[in-house]
Symmetry: C2
Subunit: 232 residues, 2 copies
């Protein structure tokens, strides 16, 4: 079947989120340190604990990934009371710091494919954060015509509904779509189970895997056009 | 049993949210109109439809109340594609416009009670929005020592877990706490079922109701200290 739509995971696929978030976290810490004498090591352990508590409470809800909730929990753990001004100041510092990222390769690949395929983004995170990333990658939706965050759909990858909704919005059948992502379970197995094809963007240093039918592997995003060019 | 904690609903109890949101909505519309020729009447109907679609999809998830999701849906309905820059511009305009509100009475009541009781806020909404309101009402958590949004707890009023968690954080038993709110089902019946007492802040013009045991009624927040003063 002819390929009509190509969907991408956002974090660690098109957007180098881990580096970006590390920058954001240091910036949030600096905002906290203006009011409380907390060193970087201690901040990191407070943050890890707050994150863990929020995740344990919210399980697979998209809000379990909300940095704002982590900061609120951290501040409450530290101060024994809510401090809205401090939490929002940390969040502002975080949001100002992280969006800097080199997106040249991602933009080039998207531009190369946008003429031939409907492009989309399928991502498990809160809408606000992902829109801020898209602001840098494709602010007016000229390249990516579909953008679905798990928060707005109420389901996450690898659930089938996420991929099926993307196909519905792209106006194609699952067999006419392909998902590109770094997460084996979410992006590769999830999309294959929903009837799409998949390209696994292997994270640096991760072990090799046996590819199921319908799946291909690349090591760099820049290899994607060649892989698609060779697809039937 | 002696009363030790008083919890408040936020919207329409301490914060005149409806007026505030109307201001925010007009501001979001102006941000849209800078790029798209959409009149106010049409905007309102697009917004209502987008809101309804998000709510239908997300049901009782806290994100079902997210204005950002409404704006994203509205823009996609209007343009047929995601436009991250426009959605975020609308959200910024909205967030800048709505916080203006007269909080004098709310602050006075809270200040009058904070010496005698542990005060808290129990609200069904996303954390970001409610922190922005608290930024105006009590930015450093000096009056309200407990602040729980449904987003961070993963459950909503009238569920018992919401009230029980508030008591846990306030360090009191349910019988030692009282909930004040305008919503009969969420605030009054929910808190009574969880073993708290309740004060119903009757919304202007709403019909009289028979008060269950453990509940009282006021028409203005300023009546609260007198009602509590008379409590055993």
């Amino acid at each position: 079947m002819r390929l009509r739509a190509v969907f991408f995971d956002l974090d660690q696929t098109l957007f180098p989120a881990e580096q970006a978030y590390r920058r954001g976290l240091r910036s949030a810490w600096r905002a906290l340190r203006e009011r409380e004498p907390v060193g970087w090591e201690r901040f990191q352990s407070l943050y890890a604990r707050a994150r863990q508590r929020v995740k344990a409470r919210l399980k697979s809800s998209p809000s379990a990934r909300s940095r704002l909730l982590y900061f609120k929990q951290l501040v409450e753990d530290l101060s024994g009371r809510p401090r809205p001004a401090l939490v929002l100041a940390m969040m502002r510092a975080y949001d100002r710091a992280w969006p800097a990222a080199d997106l040249g390769a991602s933009r080039r690949v998207a531009a190369a494919l946008a003429g031939s395929y409907t492009l989309g983004i399928l991502t498990n995170l809160v809408c606000d954060t992902q829109l801020r990333k898209m602001l840098r990658l494709d602010p007016d939706g000229r390249l990516f015509r579909v953008l679905i965050t798990s928060e707005e759909l109420g389901v996450e990858k690898p659930q089938r509904a996420m991929f099926r909704e993307a196909c519905r919005r792209a106006g194609c059948r699952p067999g006419e779509a392909l998902m590109v992502g770094d997460d084996w379970e979410h992006d590769v197995l999830g999309s294959l189970r929903a009837g799409l094809r998949a390209v696994w963007l292997r994270p640096p240093g991760s072990p090799e895997r046996r590819l199921p039918a319908g799946a291909a592997r690349i090591d760099h995003l820049s290899e994607l056009p060649a892989v698609l060019g060779g697809a039937p």
